[in-house]
Protein backbone atom coordinates (compact mmCIF):
# COMPACT_ATOMS: atom_id res chain seq x y z
CA UNK A 1 0.00 0.00 0.00
CA UNK A 2 1.32 3.44 -0.90
CA UNK A 3 1.74 5.73 2.10
CA UNK A 4 -0.46 8.79 2.02
CA UNK A 5 1.39 12.04 1.52
CA UNK A 6 0.56 15.69 1.85
CA UNK A 7 0.67 17.56 -1.44
CA UNK A 8 3.77 19.48 -0.35
CA UNK A 9 5.55 16.23 0.43
CA UNK A 10 5.22 14.65 -3.02
CA UNK A 11 8.74 13.72 -4.05
CA UNK A 12 10.31 15.79 -6.82
CA UNK A 13 12.08 14.17 -9.76
CA UNK A 14 15.73 13.42 -9.01
CA UNK A 15 18.12 15.01 -11.57
CA UNK A 16 20.66 12.22 -10.95
CA UNK A 17 17.99 9.67 -11.93
CA UNK A 18 17.52 11.48 -15.25
CA UNK A 19 21.28 11.32 -15.87
CA UNK A 20 21.34 7.61 -14.97
CA UNK A 21 18.48 6.95 -17.39
CA UNK A 22 20.42 8.68 -20.14
CA UNK A 23 23.88 7.20 -19.43
CA UNK A 24 24.06 4.55 -16.71
CA UNK A 25 27.75 3.68 -17.10
CA UNK A 26 28.82 7.32 -17.26
CA UNK A 27 26.76 8.36 -14.24
CA UNK A 28 26.97 5.38 -11.91
CA UNK A 29 30.14 6.60 -10.18
CA UNK A 30 28.39 9.86 -9.30
CA UNK A 31 25.54 7.85 -7.76
CA UNK A 32 27.94 5.78 -5.65
CA UNK A 33 29.85 8.82 -4.44
CA UNK A 34 26.69 10.80 -3.67
CA UNK A 35 25.12 8.00 -1.61
CA UNK A 36 28.12 6.07 -0.25
CA UNK A 37 27.68 7.46 3.28
CA UNK A 38 23.96 6.63 3.31
CA UNK A 39 24.41 3.04 2.13
CA UNK A 40 27.49 2.45 4.30
CA UNK A 41 25.79 4.01 7.32
CA UNK A 42 22.80 1.69 6.94
CA UNK A 43 25.14 -1.27 6.45
CA UNK A 44 27.10 -0.36 9.58
CA UNK A 45 23.87 0.05 11.53
CA UNK A 46 22.93 -3.51 10.58
CA UNK A 47 26.29 -5.29 10.84
CA UNK A 48 27.98 -3.25 13.62
CA UNK A 49 31.28 -4.22 12.05
CA UNK A 50 33.20 -1.95 9.64
CA UNK A 51 34.57 -4.74 7.43
CA UNK A 52 31.20 -6.50 7.16
CA UNK A 53 29.54 -3.13 6.53
CA UNK A 54 31.92 -2.38 3.67
CA UNK A 55 31.15 -5.76 2.08
CA UNK A 56 27.42 -5.22 2.51
CA UNK A 57 27.59 -1.68 1.08
CA UNK A 58 29.56 -2.99 -1.91
CA UNK A 59 26.99 -5.71 -2.53
CA UNK A 60 24.16 -3.19 -2.24
CA UNK A 61 25.71 -0.96 -4.92
CA UNK A 62 26.47 -3.93 -7.18
CA UNK A 63 22.79 -4.94 -6.93
CA UNK A 64 21.84 -1.34 -7.60
CA UNK A 65 23.88 -1.34 -10.81
CA UNK A 66 22.44 -4.65 -11.99
CA UNK A 67 18.91 -3.52 -11.24
CA UNK A 68 19.42 -0.24 -13.12
CA UNK A 69 21.02 -2.08 -16.06
CA UNK A 70 17.81 -4.10 -16.39
CA UNK A 71 15.37 -1.18 -16.09
CA UNK A 72 14.02 0.74 -19.07
CA UNK A 73 15.08 4.43 -19.03
CA UNK A 74 11.62 5.75 -18.14
CA UNK A 75 11.58 3.59 -15.00
CA UNK A 76 15.03 4.86 -13.94
CA UNK A 77 13.98 8.46 -14.59
CA UNK A 78 11.06 8.04 -12.18
CA UNK A 79 13.13 6.57 -9.34
CA UNK A 80 13.49 8.41 -6.05
CA UNK A 81 17.08 7.37 -5.53
CA UNK A 82 17.54 7.92 -1.82
CA UNK A 83 14.39 6.06 -0.72
CA UNK A 84 15.07 3.35 -3.30
CA UNK A 85 18.70 2.83 -2.21
CA UNK A 86 17.64 2.92 1.43
CA UNK A 87 15.06 0.22 0.90
CA UNK A 88 17.39 -1.94 -1.17
CA UNK A 89 20.14 -1.70 1.46
CA UNK A 90 17.81 -2.36 4.39
CA UNK A 91 16.32 -5.40 2.65
CA UNK A 92 19.73 -6.79 1.76
CA UNK A 93 20.96 -6.21 5.33
CA UNK A 94 17.88 -7.96 6.71
CA UNK A 95 18.44 -10.98 4.48
CA UNK A 96 22.10 -11.16 5.46
CA UNK A 97 21.23 -10.84 9.15
CA UNK A 98 18.77 -13.71 8.76
CA UNK A 99 21.58 -15.81 7.25
CA UNK A 100 23.81 -14.94 10.22
CA UNK A 101 21.19 -15.85 12.77
CA UNK A 102 22.84 -19.11 13.77
CA UNK A 103 26.04 -17.30 14.70
CA UNK A 104 26.84 -16.02 18.21
CA UNK A 105 25.92 -12.47 19.20
CA UNK A 106 27.81 -9.64 17.54
CA UNK A 107 30.49 -7.80 19.44
CA UNK A 108 29.51 -4.24 20.36
CA UNK A 109 30.34 -1.48 17.92
CA UNK A 110 34.04 -0.70 18.17
CA UNK A 111 34.33 3.06 18.34
CA UNK A 112 37.99 2.95 17.37
CA UNK A 113 37.08 1.83 13.86
CA UNK A 114 34.63 4.56 13.07
CA UNK A 115 36.01 6.87 10.43
CA UNK A 116 34.74 10.39 10.99
CA UNK A 117 35.58 13.34 8.80
CA UNK A 118 37.73 15.63 10.94
CA UNK A 119 39.35 18.98 10.45
CA UNK A 120 43.06 18.30 10.48
CA UNK A 121 43.97 21.98 10.77
CA UNK A 122 43.42 22.15 14.54
CA UNK A 123 44.34 18.85 16.18
CA UNK A 124 42.87 19.58 19.62
CA UNK A 125 39.52 20.57 18.24
CA UNK A 126 39.64 17.60 15.94
CA UNK A 127 40.21 15.31 18.92
CA UNK A 128 37.31 16.80 20.85
CA UNK A 129 35.18 16.54 17.79
CA UNK A 130 36.13 12.96 17.20
CA UNK A 131 35.38 11.98 20.79
CA UNK A 132 32.11 13.76 20.64
CA UNK A 133 31.32 12.21 17.25
CA UNK A 134 32.11 8.73 18.50
CA UNK A 135 29.92 9.33 21.54
CA UNK A 136 26.98 10.49 19.41
CA UNK A 137 27.40 7.57 17.06
CA UNK A 138 27.40 5.19 20.02
CA UNK A 139 24.23 6.80 21.47
CA UNK A 140 22.57 6.60 18.07
CA UNK A 141 23.58 2.96 17.67
CA UNK A 142 22.15 2.17 21.09
CA UNK A 143 18.62 3.39 20.23
CA UNK A 144 15.88 0.82 19.58
CA UNK A 145 16.04 -0.23 15.93
CA UNK A 146 13.07 1.67 14.43
CA UNK A 147 13.89 4.88 16.28
CA UNK A 148 17.60 4.77 15.54
CA UNK A 149 16.98 4.13 11.85
CA UNK A 150 14.43 6.94 11.66
CA UNK A 151 16.76 9.46 13.35
CA UNK A 152 19.66 8.39 11.18
CA UNK A 153 17.71 8.75 7.93
CA UNK A 154 16.23 12.10 8.92
CA UNK A 155 19.03 13.81 10.82
CA UNK A 156 22.23 12.16 9.55
CA UNK A 157 21.39 11.60 5.90
CA UNK A 158 18.80 14.34 5.55
CA UNK A 159 15.95 12.36 4.01
CA UNK A 160 12.61 14.12 3.97
CA UNK A 161 9.64 12.54 5.74
CA UNK A 162 8.15 11.73 2.32
CA UNK A 163 11.37 9.99 1.29
CA UNK A 164 11.44 8.07 4.55
CA UNK A 165 7.83 7.02 4.14
CA UNK A 166 8.64 5.60 0.72
CA UNK A 167 11.86 3.94 1.90
CA UNK A 168 10.32 2.35 4.96
CA UNK A 169 6.90 1.69 3.40
CA UNK A 170 5.16 3.36 6.30
CA UNK A 171 2.82 6.34 6.57
CA UNK A 172 4.47 9.75 6.93
CA UNK A 173 2.97 10.21 10.38
CA UNK A 174 4.47 6.97 11.63
CA UNK A 175 7.99 7.88 10.54
CA UNK A 176 7.58 11.35 12.07
CA UNK A 177 6.64 9.76 15.38
CA UNK A 178 9.65 7.44 15.19
CA UNK A 179 11.98 10.37 14.55
CA UNK A 180 10.58 12.39 17.45
CA UNK A 181 10.70 9.51 19.90
CA UNK A 182 14.22 8.65 18.74
CA UNK A 183 15.37 12.22 19.31
CA UNK A 184 13.77 12.28 22.74
CA UNK A 185 15.61 9.09 23.66
CA UNK A 186 18.88 10.55 22.37
CA UNK A 187 18.39 13.60 24.61
CA UNK A 188 17.71 11.39 27.60
CA UNK A 189 20.83 9.33 26.90
CA UNK A 190 22.93 12.48 26.57
CA UNK A 191 21.61 14.07 29.76
CA UNK A 192 22.20 10.88 31.72
CA UNK A 193 25.82 10.95 30.64
CA UNK A 194 26.52 14.58 31.51
CA UNK A 195 24.54 14.53 34.81
CA UNK A 196 25.30 11.20 36.38
Amino acid sequence: MQPTMDAEEVLPADPLAARLAHDLDGTFEALVIAHADLVYGLALRSTRDPAAAEDLAQDAFVRTYRALAGYPPERIRGLHLRPWLTRLTINLARNRARDRLARPAQAPLDEGHLGVADDAARPEEALLRRESAAAWQARLAALPRHYGLAVELRHVHGLSYAEMAEALQRPVNTVKVHVHRGLALLRVAYEKEIQP
Binding site: D25, F28, E29, V32, I33, A36, D37, V39, Y40, G41, L44, P50, E54, A57, Q58, F61, V62, Y65, R66, L114, G115, V116, A117, R129, S132, A133, W136, Q137, L140, E152, H155, V156, H157, G158, L183, L186, R187, Y190, E191
Partner: protein, 255 residues
Protein backbone atom coordinates in the same frame (compact mmCIF):
# COMPACT_ATOMS: atom_id res chain seq x y z
CA UNK B 1 21.03 23.76 25.90
CA UNK B 2 19.94 21.73 22.94
CA UNK B 3 22.01 18.55 23.03
CA UNK B 4 21.21 17.58 19.45
CA UNK B 5 24.36 16.98 17.44
CA UNK B 6 24.93 18.28 13.95
CA UNK B 7 24.47 15.64 11.23
CA UNK B 8 28.17 15.24 10.53
CA UNK B 9 28.77 14.38 14.19
CA UNK B 10 26.64 11.28 13.80
CA UNK B 11 27.68 10.53 10.23
CA UNK B 12 30.12 7.73 9.62
CA UNK B 13 32.06 8.35 6.42
CA UNK B 14 32.12 5.48 3.95
CA UNK B 15 35.59 3.99 3.45
CA UNK B 16 37.45 5.61 0.56
CA UNK B 17 37.84 2.23 -1.18
CA UNK B 18 34.07 1.63 -1.35
CA UNK B 19 33.41 3.49 -4.60
CA UNK B 20 36.49 2.21 -6.50
CA UNK B 21 35.72 -1.36 -5.44
CA UNK B 22 32.09 -1.12 -6.53
CA UNK B 23 33.09 0.33 -9.91
CA UNK B 24 35.63 -2.49 -10.32
CA UNK B 25 33.06 -5.13 -9.47
CA UNK B 26 30.45 -3.90 -11.95
CA UNK B 27 33.03 -3.45 -14.70
CA UNK B 28 33.25 0.35 -14.81
CA UNK B 29 36.87 0.50 -13.63
CA UNK B 30 39.77 -1.89 -14.11
CA UNK B 31 42.86 -2.88 -12.19
CA UNK B 32 45.93 -4.56 -13.58
CA UNK B 33 48.54 -7.05 -12.46
CA UNK B 34 51.98 -7.75 -13.84
CA UNK B 35 52.29 -11.43 -14.68
CA UNK B 36 55.14 -13.48 -16.14
CA UNK B 37 54.61 -14.88 -19.64
CA UNK B 38 56.85 -16.90 -22.00
CA UNK B 39 57.98 -13.62 -23.61
CA UNK B 40 58.52 -11.64 -20.41
CA UNK B 41 56.27 -9.74 -18.01
CA UNK B 42 52.86 -8.63 -19.28
CA UNK B 43 50.13 -6.42 -17.85
CA UNK B 44 46.79 -8.15 -17.34
CA UNK B 45 43.85 -5.79 -16.77
CA UNK B 46 40.62 -7.11 -15.34
CA UNK B 47 37.41 -6.05 -13.64
CA UNK B 48 34.48 -7.86 -12.07
CA UNK B 49 33.38 -9.15 -15.47
CA UNK B 50 36.69 -10.71 -16.46
CA UNK B 51 40.06 -10.06 -18.08
CA UNK B 52 39.77 -7.02 -20.33
CA UNK B 53 43.28 -6.43 -21.73
CA UNK B 54 46.82 -7.71 -21.90
CA UNK B 55 49.88 -5.70 -22.95
CA UNK B 56 53.65 -6.15 -22.95
CA UNK B 57 55.27 -4.86 -19.75
CA UNK B 58 58.84 -5.25 -20.92
CA UNK B 59 59.38 -1.80 -22.49
CA UNK B 60 60.49 1.38 -20.74
CA UNK B 61 57.63 3.50 -19.35
CA UNK B 62 55.36 0.56 -20.14
CA UNK B 63 52.99 1.13 -17.23
CA UNK B 64 52.26 4.78 -18.07
CA UNK B 65 51.81 3.96 -21.75
CA UNK B 66 49.53 1.04 -20.92
CA UNK B 67 47.34 3.06 -18.56
CA UNK B 68 46.99 5.85 -21.12
CA UNK B 69 46.26 3.48 -24.00
CA UNK B 70 43.73 1.56 -21.92
CA UNK B 71 41.87 4.70 -20.86
CA UNK B 72 41.71 5.88 -24.47
CA UNK B 73 40.59 2.57 -25.89
CA UNK B 74 38.09 1.45 -23.26
CA UNK B 75 37.07 4.82 -21.77
CA UNK B 76 37.36 3.49 -18.25
CA UNK B 77 39.77 4.36 -15.45
CA UNK B 78 42.52 1.85 -14.66
CA UNK B 79 45.00 1.54 -11.83
CA UNK B 80 47.42 -1.06 -10.49
CA UNK B 81 45.63 -3.76 -8.45
CA UNK B 82 45.60 -3.08 -4.70
CA UNK B 83 44.44 -6.43 -3.37
CA UNK B 84 44.65 -9.71 -5.21
CA UNK B 85 44.88 -13.39 -4.44
CA UNK B 86 48.06 -15.30 -5.15
CA UNK B 87 45.88 -17.99 -6.79
CA UNK B 88 44.61 -15.50 -9.34
CA UNK B 89 48.15 -14.57 -10.40
CA UNK B 90 49.07 -18.25 -10.63
CA UNK B 91 46.01 -19.02 -12.77
CA UNK B 92 46.88 -16.15 -15.12
CA UNK B 93 50.51 -17.23 -15.29
CA UNK B 94 49.44 -20.75 -16.24
CA UNK B 95 47.01 -19.43 -18.85
CA UNK B 96 49.71 -17.19 -20.34
CA UNK B 97 52.14 -20.09 -20.55
CA UNK B 98 49.57 -22.41 -22.07
CA UNK B 99 48.56 -19.61 -24.38
CA UNK B 100 44.88 -20.10 -23.88
CA UNK B 101 42.18 -18.69 -21.71
CA UNK B 102 40.88 -21.95 -20.30
CA UNK B 103 39.31 -21.13 -16.96
CA UNK B 104 39.77 -17.40 -17.57
CA UNK B 105 36.69 -15.20 -17.92
CA UNK B 106 37.00 -12.41 -20.48
CA UNK B 107 35.35 -9.01 -20.62
CA UNK B 108 34.91 -8.49 -24.37
CA UNK B 109 32.23 -5.79 -24.23
CA UNK B 110 34.22 -3.55 -26.59
CA UNK B 111 34.50 -6.33 -29.19
CA UNK B 112 31.84 -6.72 -31.90
CA UNK B 113 29.82 -9.94 -32.27
CA UNK B 114 31.87 -10.78 -35.38
CA UNK B 115 35.10 -10.09 -33.48
CA UNK B 116 34.02 -12.39 -30.66
CA UNK B 117 33.37 -15.23 -33.13
CA UNK B 118 36.84 -14.72 -34.57
CA UNK B 119 38.45 -14.74 -31.11
CA UNK B 120 36.40 -17.78 -30.14
CA UNK B 121 37.73 -19.66 -33.19
CA UNK B 122 41.30 -18.59 -32.35
CA UNK B 123 40.84 -20.02 -28.85
CA UNK B 124 40.22 -23.44 -30.44
CA UNK B 125 43.68 -23.60 -32.07
CA UNK B 126 45.80 -25.91 -29.90
CA UNK B 127 49.16 -24.84 -28.56
CA UNK B 128 51.96 -25.72 -30.97
CA UNK B 129 49.72 -25.38 -34.05
CA UNK B 130 48.97 -22.52 -36.46
CA UNK B 131 46.15 -21.78 -38.91
CA UNK B 132 45.74 -19.22 -41.69
CA UNK B 133 43.31 -16.28 -41.51
CA UNK B 134 41.21 -18.00 -44.18
CA UNK B 135 40.71 -21.00 -41.90
CA UNK B 136 39.15 -18.80 -39.20
CA UNK B 137 36.96 -17.12 -41.82
CA UNK B 138 35.68 -20.51 -42.95
CA UNK B 139 35.27 -21.85 -39.39
CA UNK B 140 32.97 -18.98 -38.43
CA UNK B 141 30.92 -19.32 -41.63
CA UNK B 142 32.23 -16.20 -43.43
CA UNK B 143 34.74 -17.69 -45.88
CA UNK B 144 35.10 -14.44 -47.83
CA UNK B 145 35.79 -12.28 -44.78
CA UNK B 146 39.53 -13.01 -44.60
CA UNK B 147 40.55 -9.35 -44.28
CA UNK B 148 37.91 -8.71 -41.64
CA UNK B 149 39.27 -11.70 -39.71
CA UNK B 150 42.75 -10.18 -39.90
CA UNK B 151 41.63 -6.86 -38.50
CA UNK B 152 39.47 -8.50 -35.79
CA UNK B 153 42.55 -10.44 -34.65
CA UNK B 154 44.56 -7.22 -34.74
CA UNK B 155 42.03 -5.73 -32.30
CA UNK B 156 42.22 -8.71 -29.92
CA UNK B 157 42.26 -6.95 -26.53
CA UNK B 158 43.80 -9.96 -24.76
CA UNK B 159 46.76 -11.26 -26.83
CA UNK B 160 48.45 -14.41 -25.48
CA UNK B 161 45.34 -15.38 -23.48
CA UNK B 162 43.37 -15.52 -26.72
CA UNK B 163 46.10 -16.91 -28.98
CA UNK B 164 45.81 -14.72 -32.07
CA UNK B 165 49.55 -15.36 -32.54
CA UNK B 166 48.56 -18.82 -33.84
CA UNK B 167 46.89 -17.30 -36.90
CA UNK B 168 49.20 -16.63 -39.85
CA UNK B 169 48.91 -15.44 -43.43
CA UNK B 170 47.45 -17.84 -45.95
CA UNK B 171 50.68 -17.76 -47.98
CA UNK B 172 52.48 -19.26 -44.99
CA UNK B 173 54.20 -16.05 -43.88
CA UNK B 174 53.95 -15.54 -40.11
CA UNK B 175 52.44 -12.09 -40.58
CA UNK B 176 51.71 -9.15 -38.30
CA UNK B 177 50.98 -9.07 -34.61
CA UNK B 178 49.55 -6.49 -32.22
CA UNK B 179 52.80 -6.57 -30.23
CA UNK B 180 55.06 -6.74 -33.32
CA UNK B 181 55.93 -9.74 -35.47
CA UNK B 182 59.18 -10.38 -33.56
CA UNK B 183 57.13 -11.11 -30.43
CA UNK B 184 54.79 -13.33 -32.48
CA UNK B 185 57.75 -15.38 -33.70
CA UNK B 186 59.16 -15.63 -30.18
CA UNK B 187 55.84 -16.82 -28.71
CA UNK B 188 55.37 -19.41 -31.45
CA UNK B 189 58.94 -20.65 -30.88
CA UNK B 190 58.17 -21.22 -27.17
CA UNK B 191 55.19 -23.32 -28.29
CA UNK B 192 57.34 -25.50 -30.54
CA UNK B 193 56.47 -23.90 -33.88
CA UNK B 194 59.59 -22.84 -35.80
CA UNK B 195 58.50 -19.79 -37.85
CA UNK B 196 61.47 -19.92 -40.26
CA UNK B 197 60.73 -23.57 -41.03
CA UNK B 198 57.03 -22.91 -41.61
CA UNK B 199 57.89 -20.10 -44.02
CA UNK B 200 60.49 -22.21 -45.85
CA UNK B 201 58.00 -25.06 -46.36
CA UNK B 202 55.36 -22.62 -47.59
CA UNK B 203 57.78 -21.05 -50.07
CA UNK B 204 58.54 -24.53 -51.36
CA UNK B 205 54.79 -24.90 -52.09
CA UNK B 206 54.02 -27.25 -49.21
CA UNK B 207 50.87 -25.92 -47.47
CA UNK B 208 49.36 -29.26 -46.40
CA UNK B 209 50.78 -32.59 -45.33
CA UNK B 210 49.27 -35.99 -46.07
CA UNK B 211 50.18 -39.49 -44.95
CA UNK B 212 50.39 -42.12 -47.65
CA UNK B 213 49.44 -44.79 -45.11
CA UNK B 214 46.23 -43.21 -43.76
CA UNK B 215 45.44 -41.00 -46.78
CA UNK B 216 44.50 -38.18 -44.42
CA UNK B 217 45.67 -34.63 -45.16
CA UNK B 218 46.36 -32.02 -42.40
CA UNK B 219 47.71 -28.57 -41.70
CA UNK B 220 51.49 -29.13 -41.33
CA UNK B 221 51.46 -28.19 -37.61
CA UNK B 222 48.48 -30.43 -36.74
CA UNK B 223 49.47 -32.92 -34.05
CA UNK B 224 48.52 -35.78 -36.41
CA UNK B 225 50.71 -34.39 -39.23
CA UNK B 226 53.65 -34.19 -36.83
CA UNK B 227 53.40 -37.92 -36.25
CA UNK B 228 53.76 -38.83 -39.93
CA UNK B 229 57.15 -40.44 -40.49
CA UNK B 230 59.37 -38.67 -42.99
CA UNK B 231 59.10 -41.42 -45.60
CA UNK B 232 55.28 -41.35 -45.51
CA UNK B 233 54.95 -37.55 -45.72
CA UNK B 234 53.23 -36.25 -48.86
CA UNK B 235 53.14 -32.44 -49.29
CA UNK B 236 50.30 -30.72 -51.13
CA UNK B 237 49.96 -27.13 -52.36
CA UNK B 238 46.13 -27.09 -52.24
CA UNK B 239 43.45 -29.12 -50.54
CA UNK B 240 41.82 -29.82 -53.93
CA UNK B 241 45.04 -31.44 -55.10
CA UNK B 242 45.04 -33.67 -52.00
CA UNK B 243 41.38 -34.64 -52.45
CA UNK B 244 41.99 -35.39 -56.13
CA UNK B 245 44.80 -37.72 -55.01
CA UNK B 246 42.35 -39.62 -52.81
CA UNK B 247 43.12 -37.97 -49.45
CA UNK B 248 40.52 -37.05 -46.82
CA UNK B 249 40.85 -33.80 -44.78
CA UNK B 250 41.71 -34.36 -41.09
CA UNK B 251 38.67 -34.04 -38.82
CA UNK B 252 40.67 -32.37 -36.06
CA UNK B 253 42.51 -29.59 -37.88
CA UNK B 254 39.92 -29.26 -40.69
CA UNK B 255 42.22 -28.07 -43.52
Amino acid sequence: MNPLPTPDLMRTAAPSELAPTVLFRVGLADEYLTVESPVGPVFVARNGRGVSATAPAFQAEAADAFEAAFATRFRRPIRPARRFERTEVEALETALHEGRGRGVRFDLRATTAFGREVLDAALRIPRGEIRPYAWIAREIGHPAAVRAVGSALGRNPVPLLIPCHRVVRSDGHIGDYAWGSAVKRAVLATEGVVPAEVEREARAGSHYLGSDTTHIVCWPTCRHARQIQARHRVPFATIDEAVAAGYRPCRDCRP
